[in-house]
């Protein structure tokens, strides 16, 4: 498998604190139900941006293993 399809699991965010704050802010004032929905939409948007099923499978696997 070429390296280009490998999931990045080392620090890659431009500014981790800013991103995290933006993510929290998006959920502010939402009910649990609204937050769950937002979360799901966000996930789908990001998945589409990535587009590559192999990468996405690796991401799902990494998420599963870390819990």
């Amino acid at each position: 498998m070429p390296d280009t399809t490998d999931l990045i699991l080392t620090p890659n965010l431009d500014n981790a604190d800013d991103f995290y704050a933006t993510l929290l802010a998006a959920h502010e004032g939402l009910s649990k139900e609204e937050s769950d929905a937002l979360h799901a939409r966000l996930l789908l948007i990001l998945a589409n941006h990535i587009g590559d099923n192999k990468l996405l499978e690796q991401a799902i696997e990494a998420a599963r293993k870390a819990g």
Binding site: A37, H39, A40, R41, L43, L44, N48
Partner: protein, 536 residues
């Protein structure tokens, strides 16, 4: 109610065997005159293989059943001489609309790909479908082809032997016995043949009920497919509206698992649902209403010695994606040419094992697809509902989410990848026509390619040399010689050559590709013919 439901199409008549001591042995007996049994019989009769069809009924199938017939089955029906009748009567639709809650989230247009004789699918009531098949069968009978259909002949007992099958048949005038060299069990999802032989039928039951109403309306709804997720008139469930010929509309209400069937089927309750969906002032007549549940399952093997299962008797899928009758037709398309070669002694019985391989591969694909649709329509957990709703919300605004919306995937034919009948691909050609694939259609002069294939082995040459006819161990293969010079639309090149300058294809009687190479090579093609007939 439409009177075709009540017309006996093959009324009971006393058969000669009922007055004879001697037990008669038939070449092929087909149990069941549903869409699949009738197609099998027509195919056999066209090939001059004697066939007897028995059915415990004498009419078309009752009630609301299949309405959506896809392109590949229509192409098969062309080969069976029944395609025109279906397409002329059927309605074509291209526009689909998807609703989520009270709003329309998006519409889609299924623009058909150009250069095919048949549309992507048509809507047609199953009773018309069966009526047209019976008519075709009668036509063949009138031509003197060896086919007979017996109504009110119910298979009551079966005995499987090494080289034949014994049948006990119940009739209004009592039972009689016959034998068959081969038996095709097309006796539906509840297959008595399967039950009597003690064979398995395993899979998944979906805990859901659907109310189907077929209504006759003089409404000016356009010819479109409307699908609702969680609509105000059926909270938490789904609904579907689909047009059929004669101003009949199929309306499907998902009901959920824990329901009171009798209550739901009361005309006043159906009326309440219909008005909530279509408006208080609609005028309609109820043609048929029923409640169904469904399952996705298949037999482990489709053939047990001389008994071969086809259609719903072998596999059952949820109706989402319309894969029941559509795939059953491809079963018989796959089976009959093989059975003919075996019966006529031109192929070993083991050729029939490839029916198992190829059609089980297809059944698994169909079960997978219809299970996925069901999981989208009926989320099984809180999180799957959250994800489903997120897809639908996004689909209103962003095109990317629309391919994730799954209210049933169009039935497309399986490619028999890895089939023992395929010869390894030796052409750098398009994937859609690789060995195992059904031949894609293409315009040819005033007609179409598929009308020139079928029923026999063909050597399709495109700007390549080959003999006009070759015979290999009892199998005659005839050449169809084409050139890109005559390919005014470019479809032939796109679908069969890609960037290659020439090609030779070996095509099976069911219009699937068996082998392909850039040019003729006698030894290799002879080997491919042997392979495609179970001899290597």
């Amino acid at each position: 109610m439409n009177k075709i439901f009540e017309t006996p199409l093959y009324p009971y008549r006393r058969a000669p065997e009922q007055d004879e001591e001697r037990i008669m042995r038939h070449k092929v007996v087909v149990v069941g005159a549903g869409p699949i049994g009738l197609s099998a019989a027509i195919d056999l009769a066209q090939n001059d293989i004697p066939v007897l069809v028995i059915d415990d009924n004498d009419k078309v199938s009752f009630g609301s059943r299949a309405i959506c017939f896809a392109k590949r089955p229509l192409e098969i029906l062309d080969r069976l001489g029944a395609g025109d009748a279906m397409v002329e009567k059927g309605v074509e639709w291209e526009l689909g609309r998807v609703f989520f809650g009270a709003r329309e989230v998006y519409r889609f247009n299924l623009l058909p790909e150009a250069g095919h004789k048949r549309p992507a699918f048509i809507n047609l009531q199953q009773y018309y479908f069966e009526e047209f098949l019976v008519r075709r069968l009668r036509e063949l009978e009138a031509e003197g082809r060896p086919v007979e259909i017996r109504g009110k002949n119910k298979l009551a007992a079966i005995g499987a032997h090494e080289d034949h099958v014994t049948l006990e048949i119940d009739t209004p005038e009592g039972p009689y016995n016959i034998e068959a060299e081969w038996l095709i069990a097309a006796d539906g999802a509840g297959s008595p043949t399967r039950r009597m032989m003690g064979l398995d039928f395993v899979g998944k039951v979906f805990e859901d009920n659907f109310l189907i109403a077929d209504v006759i309306m003089q409404a000016d709804f356009p010819t479109e497919r409307w699908f609702w997720f969680d609509p105000p008139f059926n909270r938490g469930q789904s609904a579907l509206l689909h047009k059929q010929p004669d101003n009949v509309w199929r309306i499907d209400f998902q009901l959920g698992w824990d329901i009171d069937r009798e209550h739901e089927l009361k005309p006043e309750n159906i009326d309440r649902r219909l008005r909530a969906m279509l408006g208080e002032n609609i005028r309609y007549e109820l043609e048929w209403s029923s409640i169904y549940t469904f399952q996705c399952r298949r037999m482990e093997r489709f053939r047990k010695g001389r008994v071969i299962f086809a259609g719903d008797s072998a596999h059952q899928v949820s109706p989402f994606g319309a894969r029941g009758a559509n795939s059953g037709l491809q079963d018989t398309d796959n089976l009959i040419w093989k059975l003919k070669l075996v019966i006529e002694g031109n192929a070993p019985e083991s050729l029939l094992d490839s029916y198992d391989f190829e059609r089980i591969l297809a059944a698994d694909e169909n079960i997978l697809n219809s299970t996925r649709s069901t999981d989208f329509i009926t989320p099984k957990s809180e999180i799957s509902r959250i994800l489903r709703d997120a897809v639908l919300d996004l689909s209103a605004r962003h095109e990317f989410a629309r391919p994730l919306v799954n209210s049933g995937r169009l039935s497309v034919p399986a490619v028999y990848d890895g089939s023992p009948l395929n010869t390894a691909d030796a052409l750098d050609g398009p994937a859609i026509s690789r060995p195992g694939a059904p031949c894609p259609d293409a315009p040819l002069g005033d007609g179409f390619l598929l009308d020139r294939l079928g029923d026999r082995f063909i050597l399709l040459t495109i700007d390549a040399e080959a003999p006009d006819e070759i015979e290999e161990d009892g199998i005659t293969v005839t050449r169809l010689s084409l050139s890109v010079r005559d390919d005014t639309t470019g479809a032939l090149k796109r679908r069969y050559l890609a960037d290659e300058p020439s090609a030779v294809y070996l095509i099976r009687p069911d219009q699937h590709v068996a082998a392909r190479r850039p040019s003729w090579n006698e030894n290799l093609f002879r080997a491919a013919i042997r392979r495609a007939t179970g001899k290597e």
